[in-house]
């Protein structure tokens, strides 16, 4: 496209159907302990 460049796969909708397995890390256990950032966690499925 000339005007729009999409830089990722935009797959959030697809993850909803198969998500929620709970294998991933609790967000606060990684490095924060005073905040919550989820988007930098990994899916571990």
């Amino acid at each position: 496209m000339k005007h729009i460049k999409t830089i990722n796969k935009a797959n959030l909708k697809a993850t909803a159907a198969k998500g929620g397995c709970g294998k991933c890390q609790a967000s606060c256990q990684s490095a924060c302990k005073t905040s919550c950032t989820v988007a930098n966690q990994k899916c571990e499925r």
Partner: protein, 460 residues
């Protein structure tokens, strides 16, 4: 819902509900101000007329066609249909535990949320017996969860390291029988690190968080001993040794910035200069009346500093070197699933904290608050009503999150911060929200820069 912003010469459009991230030209950026879903098959006349004062008509039409294509593809103005999943993690097994192994500390950091280590309830160390019961509790309550997380926290956990070792040994001895895998982590101020502890930590802990605030003078002003002397010179050589011996295993040097060092990009780079490449430096969360506390008046300076940090990282990477800044980490393709993003940390639901007395709290930040005591390991009590209430704290029950563009990235924020500083676990704490949003905007642009996307460098 979309969120669009300009930063560092980039026009960024985030499609909130699909997670789509687009870099667009000025025409698209302006056009997106004037159109709303559902989109018509042709560009509305009034939009065409308005924009034709600044752009060629044929360009506007071709731009609209691209917008329409992205819309039909579901990566622009996509709908929020996730609320149906919000009940999925209700009654979730408990999989993560923060073990406050020592309610005591050998430092007296000014901003300590644990009241310099004892959480306001007296200096105590956890016994092995209590730790063992905590492990049994986690094994029992984790149902079918295979990965169990156990963070040794305090106070300062190295003040009770023999018990840490015993608990690790005990947990490992039960893994096979229960079909579980423990992932241990530890958060330390480093004062008591020695070769034996370093070797044990590097062998057993999947992650280690090493507290240090950046530049020596910044660190020592707030992270000091009882006699007021600083900790920096003592801990840095130990941290370096631990990291050198650690190989590829995860670690973070983790600092806090306060009103005293709003120029915290210097602290991040000071840690880089000391040889560390996994760095987290984040804002202090404190009563606004404290002299070191950050307030909303500081936000413009903080925002500029994050932009500066981003630019410094770009310049650093141009020299062929790299380091990782925790809050700019953003996996736009393989991040957590949408379900995980609805409620974030899971405190009080799949994550709890245990004190040396065996008291159970929703997380380490609630420790010492009687309103949030969930039970006791020794007494075998556990408040399932409270667990149930926490399980329903998600972005659709937090009014300010519902319409926020960042909701799938911070997932409703920290419930404890909301409670302490906004007065309610379901009420957003604005300071945290604003800082989180700025970090996300920077992280997305950093990603675009790394992908080689072009922009107008004069605007950066």
């Amino acid at each position: 819902m979309i969120h669009k912003y300009k930063l560092c010469g980039y026009n960024v459009v985030l499609d909130v509900n699909s997670g789509g991230v687009h870099i667009v030209d000025d025409l698209t950026y302006d056009l997106l101000t004037d159109v709303e879903p559902p989109l018509a098959e042709k560009c509305p006349e009034e939009v065409l007329e308005k924009l034709s004062k600044f752009y060629k008509k044929e360009d506007i039409i071709s731009c609209y066609e691209e917008v329409l294509e992205a819309y039909k593809e579901g990566i622009l103005f996509s709908e929020d249909n996730y609320e149906q999943y919000a009940d999925m993690s209700v009654a979730s097994p408990i999989k993560a535990m923060c073990l406050n192994i020592a309610h005591d500390c050998n430092l007296r950091c000014d901003y300590c949320f644990a009241s310099t280590g004892d959480f306001g309830s007296g200096r105590k160390l956890m016994t092995y017996e209590t730790g063992k019961k905590a492990i049994d509790f986690l094994l029992e309550k984790s149902a079918n969860r295979e990965n169990l997380e156990l963070d040794f926290f305090g106070g300062e956990p190295l003040m009770n390291f023999d018990v840490v070792k015993q608990i690790v040994e005990y947990a490992r001895s039960r893994e096979k029988e229960y079909g579980k895998r423990f992932r241990f982590t530890i958060t330390t101020n480093g004062m008591l690190l020695d070769d034996d502890k370093i070797d044990f930590i590097n062998k057993e802990m999947s992650n280690v968080v090493l507290s240090v605030d950046g530049r020596k003078e910044v660190n020592d002003r707030v992270r000091h001993r009882v006699d007021g002397s600083g900790s920096y010179d003592k801990i840095i050589p130990k941290y370096r040794k631990l990291v050198e011996k650690r190989g590829d295993k995860e670690y973070y040097v983790r600092g806090t910035y306060t009103k005293y060092n709003l120029d915290f990009s210097d602290d991040v780079f000071s840690l880089v200069d000391e040889g560390f490449d996994q760095i987290s430096v984040e804002p202090v969360v404190a009563d606004p009346n404290e002299p070191y506390a950050l307030t909303e008046k500081d936000l413009p300076v903080i925002f500029k500093e994050y932009e500066k940090l981003m630019q410094r990282i770009v310049d650093y990477e141009k020299t062929g070197k790299k380091f990782n800044f925790f809050h700019f980490m953003l996996d736009l393709d393989q991040g957590p699933c949408a379900i995980k993003r609805l409620r974030g940390c899971g405190c009080g639901n799949d994550y709890i904290a245990i004190t040396p007395d065996g008291d159970i709290y929703p997380c380490h930040q609630f420790v010492g608050d009687d309103n949030y005591k969930m039970g006791n390991i020794d007494e075998g009590t556990f408040n399932y009503d409270m667990k149930n209430d926490f399980s329903k704290m998600h972005i659709y029950t937090k009014p300010e999150c519902h319409d926020c563009w960042a909701k799938f990235y911070c997932s409703g924020g920290c419930n404890a911060n909301n409670y302490k500083y906004a007065g309610d676990t379901r009420k957003a704490y604005r300071m945290s929200c604003e800082i989180e949003k700025k970090r996300l905007e920077c992280a997305i642009v950093l990603r675009a820069i790394r992908m080689g996307e072009s922009a107008d460098p004069s605007e950066c």
